[in-house]
Symmetry: C2
Subunit: 482 residues, 2 copies
């Protein structure tokens, strides 16, 4: 395919995409296929000779669409949102064409520099403490990671390296393996599974801090303090705490104003994972949820969830960039460049797990400019309102209960009654394929999560979803033995 | 921006992209900007109100392009290629629109299933041993990672977990931290820096195996065997060897037919990193370079380098998928789904570091079908021929020497003489901004790397590059003190 054909096919693809997104709600949100459905629909081997583009495009509806879970359908309420906006898609097209691999400043200065400035823009939108802004002379700054999981891991590795350095400074003879075998990290028992995984990857102990329903599933300062004291008494070295703002099960918020000072006093790295909730902090009314950020060493959230920037774009800030870089820096000759030692340039490969990286800040630039801060705030507020609307529908129905405070766009609810009946209800809902939800567990209860996800969700979709849920609930309850 | 405006803007963007790529060779390949150039060109904060799309698009030429290193210019010879093709870009547009996050089968069955089948297609193109093909009943199979660095790390973590399990099986009382503190991994001193980095991340000892110019910078069986014996005698536990096929400095190939049996006998996990060279193995004449794969536990290369699939697409196969999954598996309720335990489904989140993942196999599907195996083979062969053409130009000039065998698309060469004169030559070349190269170090010598990179590179570009290089070399040599 040459450029001339691309002009034609690209324009057809633009229309195909617009058609798909304009008509998405007519598709069943969750696919009706069995595992292995796709293999029999296509050949077992790649073709020897080229096929025509028409053949490939025809197969989108025949092979792909029947197996797609439509995350951007206004009837999709599962997991958390993933972003999808036209400006982000346009920027991604451009990013693909430029196709630079921005591992160093020299590999494409625009790629690195736009990222640094976009991270400053976003940091200012969130009113982050000055320390996290790169500016022209800052010691901190931001980086785009692929996912929050990677940010959690990168922060943990930086913390591990800082802890080892601190201990070796006072006890240079102590073997490093002895130090790392004593390190202990903490996170909430509500934290995302990727936090525990980060501990496994880095080969350090990770302890879960118990939370309670009565405390709204938030980590309490007193609990963390006690665990630290016990662990220190047992000869362990507390070094990392991952706080969560907006947990995956119920969107709970750890008390970082209380937890932060404890971490600071104990020289424990505090990382804040606000993967979902972070986007809301651009609204003044939600910004107080981030109070306590001044005690953090690093902070991360996913604009690719709720800020209209298509996946992947997980934004992470550190107070001291030297802490990150120190954990990773390697400079073979083939990656060195003239400006490297000037102190002015950023080589983002030292900030992340992979070496290569796409030009992802273009997406942020297009989205921030095409929506403006106000447009983005409106978008967040609308989702929160829709969640509140769903919450009031649930509260108005005596058969149901709300399982956790509705702070942002997630509603946790259930039928009053057994876990089994709720499991049955969820199964019916998802088998209907008209709306899609996933469950969570809260205090041993099986709970349904209703997350407002799609950009195009409106009040009528929420009401239709509730109509379906209550209708299925009625069926399920009628089948119950008396 | 609504769908109607996207139809218009998307088509304009398609033309902008086609224009950019059709005229790319008229741009200086390497930008003439100083660190910090971009910040002053744009506002310090995001706009409050939306801007127009025209304003955004105007800034592409004003703000972005002056700072872009044009990786797809036919005058770009730095690093290794990164792929860029029209079919891959079309597929990526579609992937962005579907915008599913395929962490589990249920999150979008098509995303997972197409990936498994495309990895089988590609595995068959490479004539991988049957063990690595998923098929319908295989124990192995493939996964798309973001980068080769991640594949190296994932393999190392799987190896670490397997080694710990094996030792605990015979010595259940031994503390895990004691085991991991004794683990030792190996790679060539020519291996990519990300291999050493993987060791740092996982917190295990990583030893570099020395190579020699006389052995063409390949790891020798005898050397590995001796290091293993010494380490075992010292109480260490060898567990992982990362072989490289096509090193970054000089495209050297470790002798895996010799190294593989040693690893197998010692129960050491052999991972093969063929990031760049792997694409060439689809040609029968280059496939012998992969002989020895039958001894490997895992294998990885980057179609996003040399197989026309845009970044990111790093393909990794494992012989036993349970080894990978065992190192990572975590299943919170919100990620569980009905089909999970059927044995038929793949949840790729257990195969990788991040949780989220894009629908990347669409790019493979479009590219394989639009080029056909023959088209892809032709593409590889053409690049190798162009490298051979450059090699013969160098060899015909008595002032220059070739520094390593030219096997694929990379030519390592230098002026006969000091490192300083070669450093000066390279600086002149890159400051000219007409062509772009990076250096490497081989046996203490400063060497220039000439990698055929762009899809559109032709013989005339190679000859023009050589004309420039010799012209600058003449200048540099005339300035030398006699």
């Amino acid at each position: 395919m040459d450029a001339a054909e691309f002009r034609r096919r690209g324009k057809e693809m633009v229309d195909l995409i617009a058609d798909y997104l304009e008509n998405i709600e007519q598709r069943p949100v969750y696919p009706d296929v069995e595992p292995g459905y796709l293999r029999s629909l296509i050949p077992e081997e790649a073709p020897e000779e080229p096929e025509t583009y028409e053949d490939v495009v025809k197969d989108i509806e025949r092979v792909i669409m029947p197996g797609v879970t439509h995350w951007h359908s206004p009837y999709f309420y599962a997991y958390f949102p993933t972003a999808n906006s036209f400006p982000a898609m346009l920027a991604d097209m451009l990013s693909g064409a430029i196709g630079c691999i921005g591992f160093s400043w020299a590999a494409s200065p625009a790629c690195t520099e736009l990222e640094t400035v976009m991270m400053d823009w976003l940091g200012k939108m969130l009113k982050l403490p000055e320390d996290f802004i790169a500016g022209t002379h800052g010691q901190g700054g931001g980086v785009i990671q692929g996912t929050a999981s990677e940010a959690t891991l990168v922060a943990l590795l930086a913390a591990r390296s800082r802890a080892v350095r601190m201990i070796l400074a006072s006890d240079p003879q102590r073997p490093e393996t002895d130090i790392t075998s004593k390190l202990v990290a903490y996170s909430s028992d509500q934290a995302h599974c990727s936090v525990e995984r980060a501990g496994m990857i880095a080969g350090v102990r990770m302890k879960k801090i118990p939370t309670e329903q009565s405390d709204k599933y938030a980590v309490q300062g007193e609990t963390l303090r006690r665990m630290i004291q016990e662990d220190k008494a047992a000869g362990l070295i507390p070094f990392y705490f991952c706080a969560t703002l907006g947990t995956t099960p119920s969107c709970a918020f750890d008390h970082i104003t209380e937890l932060g000072p404890i971490c600071n006093a104990e020289k424990i790295w505090m990382h804040i994972d606000a993967a979902y909730a972070g986007s809301s902090f651009i609204c003044p009314e939600f910004r107080p949820l981030l109070n306590g950020i001044e005690f953090a060493d690093s902070f991360n959230f996913n604009p690719h969830k709720w800020l209209l920037v298509n996946f992947d774009c997980s934004t992470m800030w550190v107070r001291k960039r030297s802490d990150l870089i120190g954990a990773f820096k390697m400079d073979p000759l083939y990656l060195k460049h003239d400006h490297q030692e000037s102190g002015l340039v950023t080589d983002y490969r030292h900030w992340q797990i992979p070496l290569g990286r796409r030009f992802r800040s273009l997406k942020m630039w297009f989205v921030f400019r095409m929506y403006g801060l106000k447009g983005l705030q409106d978008y967040i507020r609308k989702h929160v309102e829709l969640a509140k609307e769903f919450e009031s529908l649930v509260r108005a129905d005596q058969r149901f209960e709300i399982s956790a405070d509705v702070v942002l766009g997630l509603v946790c609810f259930r039928l009053k009654g057994s876990n089994e009946v709720n499991e049955t209800l969820l199964k019916r809902i998802n088998n209907g394929r008209k709306i899609h939800l996933v469950p969570c567990q809260l205090s041993g209860q099986f709970v349904l999560r209703f997350a407002v996800c799609a950009r195009t969700t409106e009040s009528r979709h929420i009401r239709e979803a509730w109509r379906l849920i209550t209708q299925l609930a009625e069926e399920v309850m009628q089948e119950l033995p008396n």
